[in-house]
Amino acid sequence: MGNILNQIGIENYIFLCVVLFCIGIFGVLYRRNAIIVFMSIEIMLNAVNLLFVAFSTYHQDAQGQVFVFFSMAVAAAEVAVGLAILVSIFRNLGSISIDNLKNLKG
Amino acid sequence: MNVSTILIILLIGAFATYFSGDKLAPKVALLFSLAALGCSIVLLANYNAGENISVINAWITQPKISFALNGDGLGLAMVLLTAALNPVIIFSSFGNEYKNAKGFYALILFMAFAMTGTFLAADGLLYYIFWELALIPIYFIALIWGNGDLEERKKAVVKFFIYTLAGSLFMLVAFIYLSQKANGSFLIEDLYKVELSACEQLWIFLAFFLAYAIKIPIIPFHTWQANVYQKAPTVGTMLLSGIMLKMGLYSVIRWQLPIAPLAAKEYMNIFIALGISGVIYGSIVALRQKDVKKLLAYSSLAHVGLIAAASYTLTLDGLRGAVLQMIAHGFVVVGLFYAAEIIFRRYETRNISEMGGIRSQSPKFASMFLILVLASVALPGTFNFVGEFTVLYSLSQINIWFAVLGGSTIILGAYYMLKMFQNVMLGETNPKTFADVSVNEGISLVVIIGVLLFFGFYPKPITDLITPSLETILNVINKN
């Protein structure tokens, strides 16, 4: 394991994660399609997961990998609920553009 | 028998009144208020006989709040004031018909309950609960049974409610801070013992001051007063001016001064000056009021300003004078508002310019009204003089100019009260008929006048009752 890090270097993992995370953020901010927003969130989650794994290896500590399992489980649950909501929204409004979701207006 | 009995009587009375139906409610309420008066007199006798009438029970363990009621002379004097005025106030309403009377009278008793609790409570949080509890009934009384345009009334009453509530919150914060310092206890003795730095005391003092200054009211925190007095039904006005104002003044003596004595001493002059400017300001504004109840409201402002100033002198005379004047003012202001109500029952107006020439139609009423007016301007021989003299004397000990400026009330007070009396009672006979006081009305007025004159010449029972507890409080204040 150690030699993989030696070959590539922890910095590159961090850069990759940051790039992935930013892609996620911009996806969330710019896209209007709820499913794509959703996917962007997943990318952000996975960016963090990747970072967890990288650091876990770097520190020789298994805790990080344990966290990743938790986070993947939560993400799976979230996807299940989220998609269910999206389906419900689609059935009600006939669209899944987030611009149409104005019910939270104060 | 201890002081909790009187609270129980009033609380049961409130429920009994509510369940007795609209017809019986006034009588039931009167009965229970008289029972409370009787009970307080028995308590007084027991207290004078040296019996311990205080109560202390654990109530909530975390935070440590006790159900502690302190039956000392000062508290007892205020309870007596409440218990004596309450039947008079209820009885005075007998000439009026109220919709949903059961609710009305139940609220009056409930308010008496809360106010009595405030005067007795010896635990900071319990005291705070009673203090806020007293606000709820008067809010409904003024809102539902008040007079004038509903929107206007709502505006005035809601302002009053929020204003006083907001002020009290600072007091709550102060209490919480104090209890942290006192190892979680809210008991008044523990709070007295808390050692605070001068800076802390100032903040505590100001927090209390905000609560009390709004309640009393001291200028410039008085803006709720005149409008609420005008809009509330007379019974509500009497409760407010006769007793509720005294809650603030009483609390200054019981809580604010002993807990933050250093701040009180340091800034004494400022607070006395504030009280005295209330005297002058209130008197001057009262001169040009067109509505009787508003005029009386401003006169109240002037009187309580003087009482507050006396309390802040931190002398025995000042505190004693303040308490005497509180009691005297309680009676006289209830009498005056009642007189205004008697006129309203006949003329359906509170506008001074629509009155006049009543004296030739109803000499008895005119005489009684005049006695009340004279008591209010502290003519010697009335209880108010005893109070006002002591108060002014205590102010003169601090600085003679305080006495001179505060004493301007005897000139300005005479000016606006006599002007009002002249415009309301004297002059050509009014074309509208004015029936002289009925028996019921007469009884209330005679009781009030009797009390004022009796204690005017023989205030010793009251002075003897309050002096020891005031001395105890002064010892706490001067312990450092």
């Binding site: - | 803006t223 005149a226 006495a403 002059g427």
Partner: protein, 631 residues
């Protein structure tokens, strides 16, 4: 001791009982009975006073009665108690004596009034308070009486309460008195904390034995000044005198009793009572003398041109009171007391006489519409004549002795004040005889109707007049120059040797001569102007020049209105319309601000998820950069 207490209680409480009976039963008892009850109540007090007077003048010991403790103040004990000594009993004699006569007079005078029982109840209440004032053993009991008589004065001036002008006059009297009362209170406070007592005898003890430090002397001076302000209010001195002429709105017996003989002398009583305080405040004494002299002159000049018969007498009262204060200012207390007594006799007689005239003319008070009443009302005329002679200082009438002593005292201390006092005296003689000539001589100037009904008043009115006239004529005997019973009687009260006994030398005789000549000169001018030349004062609109200023009382009322009343009213209006509204708006402002924040804040909740997310990310970035930057 028990006996004395009872006597004192009877003395005080009988008029009070009379008051109670008249208040509660007066209407059902009928007019005459209620009048008799009122009169008898005061007469009983008078009899008790005679007993006490007899006792005190024989034993020379004061009687001190303490009822119970009244007000507790930490270093001050105030009892409800009475002090019956030479001074108070002397005062009581003429208060209850003249009081009884005036009550008697009122039975007839007020008989046509529907509220006669009220009148008598107020009069009784007044006598009760006046007695309290006089016999109180400390300043605070005096204060009960002091304010109490003010109250009765208020009630009686406004007795005809349907007339708002009268009510205004009553209110004015009460408020001006209260200005003085505040002074009195402050004086009491200063004495209280300087000497720890307000009891006369203790005060005297303390003051006479205390070690004088500058602070204490200063306190005494200030206290004396404040007390004098109180006296100014009650005894109508500059600047608080304007209420007294207006107080003539009350029924005439009231003017006689309260506004001439008794209540207005309370200030002099108080100063005399506290002579040991004033003796130590020499600067204040000078002030008193100057104020007294100026008041006497100013009031006399106004009196010269008044046309209302009662107003003339009112200004004359103010002027005479000024003379008394002139004497007080020189520490000649017994002289002032002497003049108080003689003045009570002749001024009460004059007022009652004018009442008789007014009664005879059915309410007419304007002297321009009188004249020639001498024949129709001989008793009234002769009694008033005697009193006028007495007040003018014609030899051997009572006023001659008392006024002469005042002027003599003034001469020994200050020539300018003596001159002012003498001028005032000449004016007094002039306006009194102007009054007499206009009222009683020449032809009647009223309507035929009135002329037809002219008649002498009944015996209930004339008997008091005759008694008072006799007293006015011979009252001077109590203090003859050289051998004064009064000075000896009052001697125990004063710390100084009672006055300087004026040895009657050449100076004194010439002073006396000057005074007599002055008085005669005044009478002569009045004679020439109003008898020989037959002048009648102009009607109101024709008065011009100086006399217009005098007729309008130097416009002092107008000046006070502009200086004090108007600003206060303006301030009241200003406070009510601007400050009150402003403060109220400020409080509502808090609510408005909260509301405004809510309205603006609501806009953020646009419902656009995109925006929410954007803000969310922005927030995240902010937090993260903060964490990094903080490190």
């Amino acid at each position: 001791m028990e006996m004395d207490t009872n006597l004192a209680l009877v003395l005080v409480l009988t008029p009070f009982l009379g008051f109670l009976i008249n208040v509660f039963l007066g209407k059902s008892l009928g007019k005459t009975v209620s009048g008799i009850i009122g009169t008898v109540a005061v007469a009983i007090s008078f009899i008790v006073t005679l007993v006490l007077f007899n006792q005190i003048s024989s034993t020379g010991k004061a009687i001190q009665v303490t009822l119970f403790e009244w007000i507790q103040i930490s270093n001050l004990k105030i009892d409800l108690g009475f002090l019956l000594d030479q001074l108070s009993v002397l005062w009581l004699l003429f208060v209850t004596g003249i009081g009884s006569l005036i009550h008697l007079y009122s039975i007839s005078y007020m008989h046509d009034d529907e509220n006669m029982h009220k009148f008598f109840s107020y009069l009784n209440l007044f006598v009760f308070f006046m007695i309290t004032l006089v016999i109180g053993s400390n300043l605070l009991v005096l204060f009960i009486g002091w304010e109490g008589v003010g109250l009765c004065s208020y009630l009686l001036i406004g007795f005809w309460h349907k007339n708002q002008d009268y009510n205004d006059a009553a209110k004015k009297a009460f408020i001006m008195n209260r200005i003085g009362d505040l002074g009195l209170l402050i004086g009491m406070f200063i004495l209280g904390y300087t000497f720890k007592t307000l009891d006369y005898s203790e005060l005297k003890q303390t003051i006479l034995t205390i070690h004088y430090e500058p602070q204490i002397v200063w306190n005494i001076s200030i206290a004396a000044l404040c007390l004098f302000i109180g006296a100014c209010g009650k005894s109508a001195q500059i600047p608080l005198y304007t209420w007294l002429p207006d107080a003539m709105a009350g029924p005439t017996p009231v003017s006689a009793l309260i506004h001439a003989a008794t209540m207005v002398t309370a200030g002099i009583f108080m100063v005399t009572r506290l002579n040991f305080v004033f003796d130590l405040a020499t600067d204040v004494q000078t002030v008193i003398a100057i104020i007294g002299a100026i008041t006497s002159l100013v009031a006399a000049t106004i009196g010269l041109v008044q046309t209302d018969i009662k107003k003339v007498l009112a200004y004359s009262t103010v002027s005479q009171l000024g003379l008394m204060f002139l004497a007080l200012g020189f520490g000649a207390y017994e002289v002032a007391v002497f003049h108080v007594i003689t003045h009570a006799f002749f001024k009460a007689c004059l007022f009652l006489g004018s009442g008789s005239v007014i009664h005879g003319l059915h309410g007419e008070q304007d002297m321009r519409k009188m004249g020639g009443l001498r024949k129709a009302m001989p008793i009234t005329f002769w009694t008033m004549m005697i009193s006028s002679l007495a007040i003018s200082g014609v030899p051997f009438f009572s006023g001659f002795f008392s006024k002469d002593e005042i002027l003599m005292t003034a001469f020994h201390h200050s020539i300018p004040l003596y001159v002012i006092g003498s001028i005032a005296s000449i004016m007094t003689a002039f306006y009194m005889f102007r009054l007499m000539f206009l009222t009683f001589f020449k032809e009647f100037r009223g309507t035929e109707e009135q002329k037809h009904h002219l008649h002498e008043s009944g015996s209930l009115i004339t008997i008091p007049l005759i008694i008072l006239a006799i007293l006015a004529a011979f009252g001077g005997l109590i203090s003859l120059p050289g051998h004064s019973w009064l000075n000896e009687y009052l001697a125990p009260l004063f710390t100084k040797v009672a006055g300087e006994e004026h040895h009657l030398g050449a100076t004194e005789y010439s002073l006396m001569g000057v005074a007599v000549l002055g008085g005669l000169l005044g009478i002569l001018i009045a004679y020439i102007k109003y008898f020989k030349q037959d002048n009648v004062p102009e009607s109101d609109e024709n008065i011009t020049g100086l006399s217009k200023v005098l007729y309008n009382k130097y416009y002092v009322d107008e000046a006070y209105d502009a200086l004090f009343v108007a600003p206060v009213n303006f301030l009241s209006k200003f406070f009510r319309d601007y400050i009150e509204t402003g403060l109220s708006a400020l409080v509502f402002g808090f609510g408005k601000v909260a509301n405004e924040i809510a309205i603006q804040g609501k806009r953020l909740q646009s419902g656009s998820i995109g925006l929410y997310l954007f803000v969310f990310v922005l927030g995240m970035c902010a937090i993260i950069s903060y964490i990094f930057l903080a490190q």
